[in-house]
Amino acid sequence: MTDAVTTTGLTKRYGRRTALSDCTLNIPAGHVVGLVGPNGAGKSTLLQLTCGLLAPTEGRIEVLGHTPHTGSPRLGFVAQDTPVYGNLTVADHLRFGAHLNPGWDKALAQRRIAELGLDPSQRAGKLSGGQRAQLALTLAIAKRPELLLLDEPVAALDPLARREFLQGLMSYAAENGTSVVMSSHLVADLERVCDYLIVLVASRVRVHGDVDELLGTHHRLTGPRRDPDTLGPGREVVQASHTDVQSTLVVRSTAPVDDPSWTSDRLDLEDIVLAYMAQAGTHGRDRVLEKR
C-alpha cells in the first residue's frame, strides 16, 4: 500500500516567517492521523500543503503517490472554521457538490443530511457551528476521497457537537477505510479517534508515529537525582526536570527500563505531547505563524 503522505525536507515560508521547517514524514495509509500542536505551530500550513492549496518553499511532498493539487477527486479537505456559502441553502451545497464532483455519492450526502436533521432549505449562514461543520464534512466525504484532511474541525464546537462530528467522521472512516488526517490544538479531541500522531511545535515535527507504539515506548522515570546521560544507548530523553534530590525524566525507549533505582510510570498521550511541547520550549507557543 502506498503511503498516504510522504514529505522530504518540506519547508514553507511566508516572506521571512517560517511556518513549517524541514518536515520529513511518512504517514501510512488507512490511519486516522492526529496532527497536534499549539496554535501557530504550522498545522494549517502542513494540511494546506497536503491538499495543494499551498506550494512548498523547499522540499517535496507526495500525497497518495503524486504531487498534490487542488481539485483532485482523491482528496477531501475541510478547512479551518469549516467555511460554507452563507447565502446558499443546504440543498444548494449538495447540488453544487454533485455538479463539481464526478464521484459524488448523492445517497450518502442525502442520508447524512437527513440523519443530522438538517433542513435542506435552510441557508447555510443560519446553521449552528456544529451543523456547519457537519455540512462541510458531508461535502468533503460525499466526493468519496481516499484521503480526508480536516483542519481543526472540532475546535469551535461544543462538546455534544464535537462528539456528533467525530461519530460521523469515524463511522465514515470505518465503512470506507479512508485515511484521515485531522489537526487539533487539544490532544483530548484526538485521543480516542486517532491511531497515529504527529506532534508539531514551532514549525517543526517533534515526534510522529503509531499511537500504541508511542504509548508503549514512552516512560516517566522518577529517581534520585542524577545525570540523564547515564541512561545508556537507545534511550532518548524527551524531558528532564530536577530538584536538588530527585530527577524526573520522560524518555523514549524501546527496551524496558529495568534499573531498580528508577520508578517507571506509563504516560498517557497528553503527557507525551506535553513533554514534546516543553522540549520545544514555550517560546514557540507565542508565535503565530499560521496564515488563515
Binding site: 467525530l166 461519530q167 469515524m170 463511522s171 472512516a173 483530548a188 485521543e191 480516542r192 504509548l215
Partner: protein, 135 residues
C-alpha cells in the same frame, strides 16, 4: 446485542475497555453463543473512537477464542464465560460470605475506600501468586 461505552478517565486503553465489556457481558450471561457483536461502524458511530481500536479489540477476542468473524455477516460469540449452571449456583453462597465479610470490615472501622483498597490489593496479590505458581 450489547452497547459499548468508554470511560475517558479510567486510564485503561480504549481497546482494553471494549474487551473487558465483552468479557463482562459473557460472564453475566448477557451475551450467549451465537449472539452478534455490534459492527465496527456501529461502535465507532456510537462512541466516536478509531475503527482500528474496535478491530484490535475484536481481533484480541477472536485470539482468545471467544468470538469468530463471519465475512459479510459480522462477529459472533462462540463461547460463553458464564461457567455453566454449577458456577452460577455457586454465586449465591459466595455472595453471602462476601456480605458477611463486608459487615465485619465496616464494624472494624473501615470506610468504603479502605474496603476497596483492601479488596483490590488482596485480589491482585492472589492473582499474582497463582500466576507465579503457574509460570
Amino acid at each position: 446485542m450489547i452497547e459499548f461505552h468508554l470511560d475517558a478517565r479510567s486510564g485503561v486503553a480504549p481497546y482494553l475497555q471494549l474487551i473487558q465489556q465483552v468479557r463482562h457481558a459473557l460472564r453475566l450471561g448477557m451475551l450467549k453463543e451465537g449472539d452478534r457483536l455490534p459492527t465496527v461502524k456501529d461502535v465507532v458511530a456510537r462512541v466516536a473512537i478509531n475503527p482500528n481500536t474496535v478491530l484490535k479489540a475484536y481481533r484480541e477476542l477472536e485470539y482468545e477464542g471467544l468470538v469468530q468473524p463471519r465475512p459479510g455477516l459480522g462477529t459472533f460469540v462462540t463461547r460463553t464465560l458464564a461457567g455453566g449452571d454449577e458456577a452460577i449456583a455457586a454465586h449465591e453462597p459466595l455472595r453471602r460470605e462476601l456480605t458477611d465479610w463486608l459487615g465485619r470490615a465496616r464494624a472494624a472501622g473501615l470506610d468504603d475506600e479502605d474496603v476497596e483498597a483492601l479488596l483490590i490489593s488482596t485480589f491482585r496479590e492472589f492473582s499474582e501468586e497463582r500466576a507465579g505458581r503457574r509460570g
